[in-house]
Amino acid sequence: MSEVTQSYVPGTHPDMAPPAGQRGILLWLRKNLFSSWANSIMTIVGIYLLYKIVPPMFNWAVVDAVMYAGNREECQALGSGACWAFIKDRYRILIYGFYPEELRWRVDVSFLLLCAALVPILFDNAPMRKPWMLFSVSYPFIAGWLLLGGAGLTPVGTDEFGGMMLNTVVGVTGIAFSLPLGILLALGRQSHLPIVKSVSMCFIEFIRGVPLITLLFVASTMLNYFLPPGTTFDLLLRVLIMVTLFSAAYIAEVVRGGLQAIPNGQYEAANSMGLKYWQSMRLIVLPQALKISIPGIVNTFIGLFKDTTLVLIIGLLDILGIGRSSMADAKWNGLSNEVYISIAIFFFIACFGMSRYSIYLEGKLDKGYKR
């Protein structure tokens, strides 16, 4: 007397194939593209727009593009599309800025080392993580030595930094130093010690109330009025400090949001376990709070990375600045699309990478919180 009830997912019953419109590609199309009148119209309009946009863009960027030419006129004589020859002529300074040509291997090496240093920080299942971590911690010093020279290497001034390399230096430094500083500020703002609390609050509110561009401008020009005459204070260093402080204030608020999401019971539980303040923060509160804050933190980092182009205002030529001053070369004048598109690709890769990593991290950490 056993009755077996077996259920099949529609379309998998061995006896009968579903009707033609209910399987395979037709089903998919109906479900996803033509599920209602409104959606059908949207689909058709969308396809029409793609047809209008994609082929001309493809023609411009690939089919009619020119890779080899000596100047704009040659380029435009050879093809009606993009003049990638210009980018080919300039990609080195777009990447390295004014860094001396024979020393550019040092930039390459420090970039490769950066990738290596990031592995144990980003992936906790990396092999030999502990010793590797030591390398990551010492990386800023190694990179500083490689980029600036000294102690056996030819010194290079920070005014020779430029291009993609400058964006990366400012972005990576800002990200690396603003996260710990931001966490401290967030804890400080929640602190019960009145001085710590008010200092953190004033700092955060002041920095958030002022645009980054103003801070950079202050760093580049106003600081000279305040410092004793004759002091020279490296411009890039001033920028790094300002960018770090700026993004730390934002990170602090993001982390504070995370801290507030932790129920009071967690704090009390930590206290009742006899944990001291820093122990309870490190072991109980912050791991939970930071996990909640990941999207916001990464959002701030992406914003920070894109904001590195603002250094153009104070006379540092980042990738955008180099692109602009290259465009003014009479030999190539007027090829702005090519330059802007190349720069956009660089930023897209960097920012998309960060955003994918944050999604990976969220997925990994969200044990037991799935709703």
Binding site: G97, S220, N224, M327
Partner: protein
């Protein structure tokens, strides 16, 4: 890297602490061994980076000439790129020593912004360009037009004056850089493109169809473009003024990059001898080496050579000398005597 820098900078701050107040700019530059020269972030013919990342152009060459005079080496220049809005702040804060950045000499800038204009290296004037299809014959027909205009420049103010005095209206489209205005104009977001006439010609030459655009006959302003230094440093101002005069004087006297070494051995013309330092000691009066004039011409050539190399007839910019010819050739470029 960052920590090292912070430590070393902190040490530097403490060590320098209260040093003597800065002397003159000339002494500062000589002590530093590097001239910080403010140039445009990118203007065809005047300042741009070449494929090796080196600044080139008419203004960039005057920076080199200054470095050659002050430091004896034309390569000891650090170019500080500045936008129209930031240039004076950068100069006044001491982040730059001199401004060679196609900057118009005006009353307010000279007097109220506390700058000193020490000469004019290019006489320009503001013009208009419009598509032929618009059918405009004169700038006075531009009633109701949208105009692309760079903010923070004198062109912006001239435009307002011109339209107001002719009692016609316009709609400004504010733009940050020359390249953006070019893009916006070509995309049809503004009917009219206005900037200095040198810039108009240079920009039109880069259009896909230059013949479809007309430069209107009106020149609505005087734009004397020249070098600027901080107010109150007359010695440094003198240096810049006479570097500029040396290039013009050399053209007038027939001294060129090619023959300067020959002429520096001594000529029959005492003015050439004084300029190149073989007679008298004009250099010492400026606080420079005796052979400063020779260094300037040896590094960049005379005015005509600089002009023809970057913006003259044979370049892509293709400008006539016009007002910028020497006074002996019908222009107004004129150097006081080296005496």
């Amino acid at each position: 890297m960052k920590k090292l820098q912070i430590i070393s900078a902190a040490a530097a701050v403490m060590a320098l602490g209260v040093t003597a107040a800065s002397a003159g700019t000339l002494q500062d530059v000589q002590a530093r061994g590097e001239l910080r020269c403010i140039v445009s972030t990118g203007l065809a013919g005047f300042a741009y980076t070449d494929s090796a990342g080196v600044y080139q152009g008419f203004d960039a060459d005057f920076c080199r000439a200054t470095a050659a005079a002050v430091l004896g080496d034309a390569s000891k220049v650090k170019f500080v790129p500045a936008t129209g809005k930031t240039r004076f702040t950068i100069l006044n804060s001491g982040e730059g020593d001199v401004l060679w950045r196609n900057t118009t000499w005006t009353f307010v800038r000279d007097v109220d912004v506390k700058l000193t204009f020490v000469g004019v290296n290019y006489y320009d004037g503001q013009g208009f360009m419009a598509p032929k299809s618009l059918g405009v014959k004169s700038a006075k027909d531009l009633d109701g037009a949208t105009v692309c205009i760079q903010t923070g420049t004198t062109t912006e103010l001239n435009l307002a004056d011109f339209f107001r005095s002719n009692k016609i209206s316009y709609e400004p489209v504010p733009i940050e850089t020359n390249d953006e205005s070019r893009t916006n104009y070509l995309a049809g977001r503004c009917d009219v493109y206005t900037t200095d006439a040198s810039g108009l010609a240079a920009t039109r030459s880069t259009f896909p169809n230059p013949k479809d655009h007309v430069i209107l006959p009106e020149i609505i302003s005087k734009e004397p473009l020249g070098p600027v230094v901080r107010h109150g440093d007359d010695q440094w101002g003198d240096v810049i003024r006479w570097v500029l005069n040396a290039t013009r004087g050399a053209e007038e006297l027939g001294v060129t990059q090619a023959n300067v070494a020959e002429m520096a051995k001594g000529t029959n013309n005492p003015e050439i001898n004084r300029m190149l330092g073989t007679e008298g000691d004009l250099g010492a009066m400026l606080g420079l080496q005796k052979d400063w004039g020779q260094k300037v011409i040896g590094a960049v050539g005379n005015y005509s050579e600089i002009f023809e190399r970057h913006i003259g007839k044979d370049t892509d910019i293709g400008l006539d000398r016009g007002l910028n010819a020497l006074w002996t050739d019908g222009g107004i470029q004129y150097s006081p005597p080296f005496r």
